[in-house]
Symmetry: C2
Subunit: 307 residues, 2 copies
């Protein structure tokens, strides 16, 4: 009952129509670990940080059952830093600053204690690095899930295609699915991606929910309609963390259980956007999660009796 999370631990500075954050802790690995640790512990983190990454954050992660043996600390460099500004619709954003810093040297090395873990979440990273992590596993995980982004489709498509053949679930957003396949129709794009390696495909549509494709089946999970999306940063990673956390907890990788996992992911993401950065995830209780899951049941539950 354990989960490896490979992803960034970084600093973000975020501006939305509702406000502006200072430099705060972020990164895909942070959001995935925060979300997943509600469901499964330990979470075995793989990442890289600089000398400036706060020790209190490391201690906080440990207190949530996040193992940091796979997190490299570079003593003479700074942590990865990203600054961005969201537009009014919150679906698009401008990147203002990307300081790779330590990330330029990232070459994940798995500790021995990670190498037989059953669930592996590969955050959005250079495909070569994702591949290297898979190859370091001494036992093929029960489930490998990967995230990626359009940047790798433009700069490393061949490598990306190789990794795709090695994973079980691909997690992308709608524009990435289109770019990966040159298909405008999401359903056509999904069919193509399911021939490229992954047996399951999740297409995230932000405020419009998420779709799960597998063979000829499709499942749709809505996003919770919210009065205000305060800051969407990390919502996709939080979704991934909830999804993986539920699967690693239940150890059931059937299509039926993946449906539930996607609802769990959507519920976690709905919390993430309520405050700046990962702040809301820090204060989250099990009772709040359970209550939100019930809201999702109410949101989509209907009765069809065919006469």
């Amino acid at each position: 009952m354990s989960l490896i999370v490979v992803g960034t631990m970084a600093f973000d500075a975020i501006e939305t129509p509702f406000g502006k954050s200072d430099k705060i802790v972020g990164g895909s690995g942070t959001y995935v670990a925060y979300a997943a640790s509600n469901f499964v512990q330990p979470v075995q983190q793989v990442s890289i940080v600089g000398y400036d990454f706060p020790e209190e954050e490391m201690n906080y992660l440990k207190s949530r059952g996040v193992v940091l043996d796979g997190v490299e600390i570079v003593p003479d460099k700074k942590s990865f830093f990203w600054a961005g500004k969201y537009h009014m619709d919150m679906n698009s954003r401008d990147t203002l600053v990307t300081d790779l810093n330590v990330l330029a040297d990232f070459n994940p090395v798995l500790p021995e204690s990670y190498k037989e873990t059953e669930f592996l979440m590969l955050g959005n990273l250079m495909p070569k690095l994702q591949k290297s992590v898979i190859e370091q596993m001494t036992k093929r995980p029960k489930l490998i899930v990967m995230d990626t982004m359009n940047f790798w489709m433009e700069s490393a498509m061949d490598d990306l295609k190789e990794v795709l053949k090695m994973v079980d679930v691909l997690l992308v957003n709608d524009s990435e699915a289109r770019q990966l396949t040159n298909e405008y129709s999401i359903v056509k794009a999904a069919k193509k991606i399911l021939t490229m390696g992954p047996k399951y495909l999740i297409i995230k549509k932000g405020e419009h929910g998420a779709l799960l494709f597998h063979e000829n089946q499709v499942f749709f999970a809505p996003a919770l309609p919210l009065e205000e999306v305060f800051d969407p940063t990390g919502a996709g990673d939080t979704f991934a963390g909830g999804f993986m956390g539920h699967l690693a907890k239940t150890k059931d990788i059937s299509f039926e259980n993946m449906k539930t996992a996607i609802i769990v992911g959507s519920a976690m993401a709905s919390f993430c956007v309520e405050k700046f950065g990962p702040e809301r995830l820090r204060s989250l209780t099990k009772a709040e999660i359970d209550e939100r899951l019930q809201e999702f049941v109410q949101l989509v539950n209907f009765d069809i009796t065919i006469a």
Copy 2:
């Protein structure tokens, strides 16, 4: 067990990225009647056409249980004509031609036989005319549903606000909900609209599904993910027809049954977009509708057991 439909019966010429139609029969009233007549008959139509409107279309409507006593035929004018061209995303379109013709003189007069009907669907029309129809009813219908559009918000907002106070359900798309309330957040817009008259609000989001709001409750119905949306013309009206048809058939206007009605509407709309204009709706069978409803069950059905 009857339903009044007030809407246009017209000609459309449609261009999409997938092809181009000749001048074909369309209009909001046509789509609503086609869809609703699968569930409830008679459908009491209120509309206006010119001398050029095909008699075979009138006969076909009659064969589906559509009563035409409320359809005025103007002997010396042409029917309403609209031509439009859809963009690649199918969510936006350019209007190429709008020839009002008979529609400029439309002043709906309800036949006596319509005046105590229990379900009233007011298609998108000048708000003054929608109001006049309501006022002609000798008995207040069990349920009044209205559609409208941004054009009336710009040109007749005061009239629109008056009609809103007289109806039970408002049916708009997301951009119309925003325009009506000056709220960007759909949830905030919904809360405002629910103080303006309607007790129920449906916000249509095209390929992204539809939301039903009532008091503090919300329900979400997805659109069926389709390989190809061939022509979205009439999808919103077909949705309305399925929604009203189910309610008029079951005579149950509870929130729970409205959820089911929205799924029925979404299923009907998913057929509409498969071919140009209302063509697909003509060949539709009950077995096909039942099968599609089951697809919606599969699409959103999940199991949450809270441990």
